[in-house]
């Protein structure tokens, strides 16, 4: 067999790519940290770290749900719209108190998730098309509910957005807790194993009697709920509901974080630590360029380069 003959160069290249896919994102974060500490004034300050972390928290939370959808060989484009919807619903129901408002947000998000899940699991629509409908429609509904920006004056909501425990902002605590929870679900629960099996080989999962449709429904509901949490937290931080622009392009940021973090788009694998690091990498990259007064267009170009590198590394693993 010709393939058994090992060509050293090819082997090394495969190894480098494999390494890149597994650890590249952490190496990237480390490099950006070192470079910034060296050249960026005031980078190494508690205040700066706090700012960066608070900005990245919603992206991380959305990316967690996206990682689950991508793990099933799916995708969810409606997450940005769900954030906007969460903002509108929060504004509308905040009069009844924070908790009733949050519960209402959860119901709306669950309905979006069920709709996405039903289209994917029962109707058999491709996830990218199924969730595209609500990506467009969801924001439309959000704008019908609340046509323009509205300032919110609710102390409970304000404290959620800017308060902290032991000096750590709530946003960061919540994002970290959710990351741990999702990682636990993926690794230790029946649902997690079934999700990965469905993503890796759906035909086999089906013949093995797995509840394929139920798992897919749950994945899209979880994804929508996480996006709603991100939407509420972002709204709390702004102290304003902004359904026009909140969560714009968030689906792309989340997909980028997941892919850069080493979760393949082909499904069957979910890397939560990598996803968090992926979100942090993009955030640091953006912050670095902004702090050095480069125009925002450069940020987009830099992001594009990172995505291409990540996809290239993933491709190196090849088809089985």
């Amino acid at each position: 067999m010709a393939e058994a003959a090992i060509r050293p160069a090819a082997l090394d290249r495969a190894r480098v790519l494999q390494w890149m896919q597994t650890y590249g994102v952490y190496a990237g974060v480390a490099v950006l940290l070192v470079v910034n500490i060296a050249v960026t004034p005031h980078f190494l300050s508690a205040e700066n770290f706090r700012t960066q972390a608070v900005q990245v928290a919603p992206v991380i939370i959305v990316a967690l749900g996206m990682a689950l959808a991508i793990g099933t060989e799916g995708i969810d484009l409606s997450v940005g719209a769900v954030m906007a919807l969460a903002a509108s619903v929060t504004a509308l129901y905040l009069g009844y108190g924070l908790v009733p408002a949050l519960l209402t947000v959860a119901v709306f998000a669950a309905v979006v998730g069920l709709a996405n899940g039903a289209l994917v699991a029962w109707v058999g629509v491709q996830p990218i098309v199924a969730t595209l409908a609500l990506m467009v429609g969801g924001r439309g509904i959000a704008l019908v509910l609340l046509p323009q920006l509205k300032d919110l004056h609710n102390p409970a909501l304000a404290s959620l957005g800017s308060g902290d425990v032991l000096g750590i902002p709530y946003l960061i605590v919540i994002a970290a807790a959710l990351a741990l929870l999702v990682a636990f679900v993926v690794r230790r629960t029946t649902f997690g194993r079934q999700l990965l099996a469905i993503g890796d080989n759906r035909a086999a999962a089906k013949l093995a009697g797995l509840p394929v449709r139920r798992v897919l429904m749950l994945v899209y509901v979880a994804c929508a709920l996480l996006a709603a949490v991100a939407g509420v937290l972002a709204t709390a931080r702004l102290q304003a509901s902004d359904p026009t622009s909140l969560g714009n392009l968030m689906e792309l940021s989340a997909i980028t974080a997941v892919v850069v973090g080493g979760t393949p788009l082909s499904g069957g694998r979910v890397n939560i630590a990598g996803t968090v690091a992926g979100a942090v990498l993009i955030q640091l990259l953006t912050a670095t360029l902004i702090k050095h007064d480069l125009p925002p267009s450069w940020t987009q170009i830099a992001q594009a380069i990172v995505i291409v590198l990540a996809v290239y590394a993933a491709r190196g693993r090849g088809k089985r």
Binding site: M1, A2, R188, T190, R193, L196, A197, N201, G209, R269
Partner: protein, 519 residues
Amino acid sequence: MAPSAEVLTVRGLSKSFPGVRALDGVDLALHAGEVHALIGENGAGKSTLIKVLTGVYRPDAGDITFQGRPVSFATPLEAQHAGISTIYQEVNLIPLLSVARNLFLGREPRNRLGLLDFGRMHREAEETLRAYGVRVDVRQPLRTLGVGAQQMVALARAVATDARVVIMDEPTSSLEPREVETLFEVIRRLRADGIAVIYVSHRLDELYAMCDTVTVLRDGCRVHTGPLADLDRLTLVSIMLGRDLGEVRSEGLTKFTGDHHAADSEPVLNATDLTVPHKLHGVSLDIRPGEVVGLGGLLGSGRTETAKAISGALASKAGSVTVAGVPLRAGSTPAAIRAGISLLPEDRKSEGIVPGLSVRENIALAALPRLSRFGLVSEAQVDKIVDTFVKRLRIKASSPYQKVGELSGGNQQKVLLARWLAMNPKVLLLDEPTRGIDVGAKAEVQKLVDELAEDGLGVLLISSDLEELIEGSDRVVVLKDGAVVGELTGDDVTEDKLMQTIAAGSPGPGAAGEVTRHG
């Protein structure tokens, strides 16, 4: 019949894939005006040969001479331009384009401005198709036509490109009997025009109706070429399956020890009148505890479909399945699994293993709900099950955490068996359990099947390996064209009897409508 010129000559053609020698020095001579049957069981090398002839694969060794000149096609398009056209089992045209556009794809008539000349295209398309008995509005998208009519468009297209050789790969698999007749009409016309046809099919009736010559491939080698009229059906079947007629074998070559004592207990599984359009036409069988029932028949006879219909993976339109007297909900895999039916699928890679997950997770996959509490997987219980079966089935992996995709075929199959045994099934449906696995693993799997039957499981065994089927089974139900044509019991469970049943049994022509992609 005067021997006419050789259009296509193939000498010593070989082609290997990693681990498989798909073609091993195959010769083939095709004459003008000849309909040449190309037959063989799964993996015999038919599709590889076709793909080499049409430029999809490059051969490792051997020569192809086409119309007197040595050729080497780099792409299917080159082969097509040279005059070798292929019609595949599934129509490979563009469903959204119009019928006429499809017919003229790649060689559209153009007007003086270089734009498509639709008027001419539509006129010529209508004329061409009328000759094939297809009367349709050629402006309509292709997909509005029935499958048979689409097949005719593909055929017309293939022939219209000045083909000298037309290769038909299972052309009738999706045709109605009336359309089959039209197809035969067209083939007769091709023959009269001096065009050579390679005809691949598993339906003996069709071969005898249409073909002049037959070439039989087995395990990548040509084992027979000659006029079809000289062979009776039984001989043809025996050549195809690689068995000498009247071969007497006193002792077996497999690891099966023989009879189990199912005796007179009530059947654990009753399948009655299973019907799946185009695939199964009222198949009934039962299995008693401790009994291995073989399912015999050629490729495409409905063996896999029967197993899938029993396990709920294919929805049966009629009929019923009962396990230990309790009827199953049709078309539900989870219900069948809960009732104790386990299916080891034929296609291990695409329907069995989850390659990216570990040995451990693959074994525990189906049993997960039982190994969990409140949705949390109990790792200790999983370890226990995995440990038991890795030892019992002697699964060789570097650790339980190795990815299943990295294991050998035999070990992958054992992992799948372990997955099902962990469910404590009552009935095991084994579809080609030893295909593509090495000799050692094969013997182990066969031995295991024996042991499981002795422990009281009901087993349905599907195998293209006749030895395995005959020696492993206590009883063999024979299928042909999606219907049961016979059952061998007791001393009648022999290869000869099986081949006779396959060759003789006929549920009547036209009952077929067979899909052959699944064995």
